[in-house]
């Protein structure tokens, strides 16, 4: 049984390394920051998960196996958070997306929530009172 588990473990670790390679290629080859975020936060975390799974199958203490699983779960949550804040900040700062025209300089980014600016810039100048 043990040799079979060892082979499966080695295969999983190799697959994980392949996903890491895919993530790096994506980071270097994809055209804009939003695409690159896909490569990094999805492919790399799948690679990390496969490596972690391969390591769990190797003989060892139960406590360290649980620790590896927890590290992977924390890495997943971290990647989701980082991906979201980086993409949102890029959008807000006006980083152009591939195949899409750059937003005009006075565009109100999604989620900015700056309602008064919209009313003030395009609304009538008369005193229509407070909304």
């Amino acid at each position: 049984m043990a040799p079979i588990l060892g082979v499966i473990s080695a295969l999983l670790i190799l697959m994980g390394a392949a996903f890491f390679l895919a993530g790096t290629v994506g980071l270097l080859r994809f055209p804009d920051v939003y695409c690159r975020l896909h490569a990094l936060t999805k492919a790399d975390n799948l690679g990390l998960g496969l490596v972690a799974l391969g390591l769990i199958l190797r003989p060892g203490e139960v406590a360290t196996r649980v620790q590896i699983v927890l590290i992977w779960l924390l890495a997943l949550a971290a990647a989701a958070t980082v991906c979201h804040i980086l993409a949102r900040t890029s959008l807000r700062e006006g980083v152009a997306a591939f195949g899409v025209d750059a937003p005009p300089a006075d565009a109100v980014p999604v989620g900015a929530g700056d309602r008064d600016k919209i009313v003030g810039s395009s609304g009538p100048s008369g005193d229509r009172g407070t909304h």
Binding site: V33, V51, A78, L86
Partner: protein
């Protein structure tokens, strides 16, 4: 088997090194930040592999710290460290 684990770890180090090209090219600050994210994820995998190969359990705790630092680093970056450069909208006023 240990040689295999160390070989995979070395391969991941090469991946991180290739990701540094993106830091040099940019163009936007977020692109440069992505390489730090790659270093976080791949670094965790490297440390887990090294912990298994060398039987050094402290390296697993180091991997845990790596994950936490990657999040703190990115949050600090978007809140404080975003430097406006080519590829981003010029600052208003």
């Amino acid at each position: 088997m240990n040689d295999f684990l160390l070989g995979v770890a070395a391969f991941l180090v090469l991946n991180v090194a290739a990701g540094l090209v993106r830091v040099a090219r940019g163009p936007s600050p977020a692109d440069r930040m992505l390489a730090a994210q790659l270093f976080g994820t791949a670094g965790v995998a490297i440390l887990l592999l090294l912990a298994e190969a060398t039987g050094e359990p402290a390296l697993r705790d180091t991997a845990l710290v790596f994950v936490l630092l990657a999040v703190v680093l990115s949050v600090a970056f978007v809140k404080r460290g975003w430097v406006r450069g080519p590829g981003t909208r010029p600052e208003k006023e």
